[in-house]
């Protein structure tokens, strides 16, 4: 999966590993979305709404809102009173360093930076603390890629297999 990434081949191997991505999507229940917008036409809203409809628990993190998508919104990761599996980041790449530290502090299992977001320092902070790290990838696109429906939009999923699909 190398299409459209700003990462080097080595960093793609580390931070866009299809096995890690599939495991995270399979095992995660709770996803904190840092920078989730209140505007239903923004990318963050599309992604969080998609994941919520699939049954993931979505926790919005946005200091400027009380509730988004009928979910209580928190000003920071530290304020979330329950365990978080994936910290999904929709903030400028420079903010990811501090978010990575917060993700480590709350014991999240993974740090995920969305498409076009690259911050190697954040990746190192998180992976040194034992978190799985994904960068420059979209949670929704990756879910659609492996569950089979991204393909319906004519997109290049780069999945090549002669094995029968499993029931979604």
């Amino acid at each position: 999966m190398t299409l459209n990434s700003a990462l080097s081949a080595e960093h793609q191997r580390l931070y866009q590993d299809p096995h890690v991505i599939q495991r995270l999507l399979r095992e995660a229940r709770t996803i904190a979305v840092v920078g989730l917008s209140t505007d239903p036409q923004r990318a963050s809203w599309f992604v969080a709404n998609y994941l919520k409809k699939l049954g993931y628990r979505i926790i919005p993190v946005n200091p400027k809102a009380d509730t988004i998508m009928e979910e209580k919104c928190y000003p920071s990761l530290a304020a979330i009173p329950e365990p978080v599996d994936i910290v999904d980041v929709f903030r400028p790449a420079a903010d990811a360093t501090a978010i990575a530290r917060d993700a480590v502090a709350i014991g999240a299992k993974a740090l995920w930076l969305q498409l076009k977001l690259v911050n190697l320092e954040a990746a190192e902070i998180a992976s040194r603390a034992g978190l799985a790290v994904v960068m420059d990838r979209c949670v929704k696109i990756e879910h659609g890629r492996y569950q089979g429906r991204l393909h319906w939009g004519g997109m290049n999923t780069e999945i090549i297999t002669a094995r029968k699909a499993r029931l979604a």
């Binding site: 036409q41 076009k116 319906w152 290049n156 999945i159 297999t161």
Partner: protein, 433 residues
């Protein structure tokens, strides 16, 4: 080497037969099934609403997407190295969808003058109705391309292997020129197919195809496809980046990132023009794609043999095939098309005293036994046409010359027949009186 399938880079031929299709979880059907249905049942009212708002992936109505068509789309996208694809009713539709998605009234296109005649007509006359203007340039002159670019220019357009004289587009240089002005290069890759050239690897942004030709190969189905490299920054393009009035103010580029252009092309342009591919035609074109590289390899090899034969024939005045060292773009062909510049080319019949070139062409065409006389290219059967007595018969000799179509010009599309049989046929027809 990794033994994990997810990280292996599978080769072109493997993707030709597998990309875009995973055997169905329930039936296990190995061939691609034909989903011959106009519409798809929703899970519930909420899912229906979400689909219409593009908030979930899914099928609604086959004008917008269809599972059989999606296999064709993803397969071509994989072969071209594109982010994705939108299939269209024909090659002409693919071009129109590209322009209507990308451009706003008042915008301009700079295009190569060496194009399929139908494309020139579309650019000049049909685009004018949308208040879009085109400037044509000699594709071999980078200075002409540069001089034609104005602040209103929003796309550069050319064919990998151009009509009618087989001009080869210097994709890398023209794409770089476009990039330096923030303008995407659109390449019609019909004649080469991704088996011979993948323009995205050289910097092109959008690719259009008439799948009617070599992709299908069997001459049974019209179709087209539009692809996006996913690498171009469309943030300066109001058509892709600004809130869309046709889609309740959705900002396609912001919301869908490198899929923004294609999402807009599908959800708006295909939806509103109805220029979609039928699932049955998609199925037929998929059958063709499975043997694409094999056919291109053989047909291109045969084309070179035929071109060499004609170049040495006393009844032939000239041969325009970039696979021959005599062609002005031979070096470009070796660079961009190392497997050969395709299987379509033209040549000129030698003039005879007291015999007009048009009449000569008629005699030649009518003497051929194996070449099918028709208006298409890219079939597994060899094809021939004499534009001066058919597609261009209403034009005077002077007008023909302006379009680069000499009265003695014969266009061949070389098929899969035994090449010795093709040489025999051409020889006997060249000597016919």
């Amino acid at each position: 080497m990794s033994n994990k399938a997810e990280t292996r880079k599978f080769g072109f031929e493997t993707r030709m037969v597998h990309a875009g299709h995973i055997p169905d979880a329930v039936t296990g059907a190995r061939a691609v099934p034909i989903y011959q249905t106009t519409s798809f049942v929703f899970d519930d009212a909420d899912q229906a609403a979400q689909l219409f708002e593009l908030k979930q992936f899914g099928n609604i109505y086959s004008r917008i997407s269809n599972p059989t068509t999606a296999v064709f789309e993803e397969r071509v996208a994989s072969l071209e190295g594109a982010a994705g694809a939108v299939a269209t009713a024909s090659g002409m539709a693919a071009q129109l969808v590209a322009f209507l998605t990308l451009l706003e009234p008042g915008d301009e296109v700079v295009a190569s003058s060496q194009l399929y005649g139908g494309s020139i007509t579309q650019l000049v006359h049909t685009l004018r109705k949308f208040n879009l203007q085109v400037r044509f340039v000699d594709p071999s002159s980078i200075a002409e391309w540069e001089a034609a670019i104005t602040p209103k220019t929003r796309a550069l357009y050319g064919e990998t292997i151009g009509n009618p004289r087989g001009a080869i587009l210097d994709i890398g240089r023209i794409a770089a020129l476009g990039a330096s002005h923030g303008i995407p290069l659109i390449v019609d890759n019909t004649m080469a197919t991704p088996a011979l050239c993948r323009p995205i690897e050289h910097g092109a942004t959008l690719i259009v195809h008439s799948a009617t030709k070599f992709m299908g190969g069997h001459g049974t189905a019209l179709g087209g496809v539009l692809l996006d490299s996913g690498k171009f920054d469309f943030s300066r393009y109001p058509s892709i980046a600004a809130p869309s009035a046709a889609y309740h103010d959705l900002r396609f580029y912001d919301t869908f990132g490198h899929y923004g252009f294609l999402m807009k092309a599908r959800a708006e342009t295909i939806r509103d023009t109805g220029a979609c591919l039928s699932p049955f035609n998609a199925f037929l074109l998929i059958q063709g794609l499975e043997t694409l590289s094999l056919r291109m390899e053989r047909q291109t090899a045969s084309a070179l043999k035929v071109a060499q034969f004609l170049e040495g024939h006393g009844e032939v005045a000239w041969v325009a095939y970039a696979g021959l060292p005599s062609h002005p773009d031979h070096a470009l062909a070796r660079k961009y098309l190392p497997g050969g510049p395709g299987a379509v080319f033209s040549f000129g019949l030698r003039a005879k005293k007291g015999e007009g070139a048009r009449a000569r062409g008629r005699v030649f065409i009518e003497a051929l036994q194996l070449f099918s006389h028709l208006a298409n290219i890219g079939d597994v059967r060899s094809l021939v046409i004499h534009p001066a007595s058919t597609t261009h018969q209403q034009l005077s000799d002077e007008e023909l010359a302006k379009g680069g179509v000499a009265p003695e010009l014969i266009r061949l599309s070389i098929g899969l027949e035994n090449v010795e049989d093709l040489l025999w046929d051409l020889d006997q027809a060249l000597l016919a009186r």
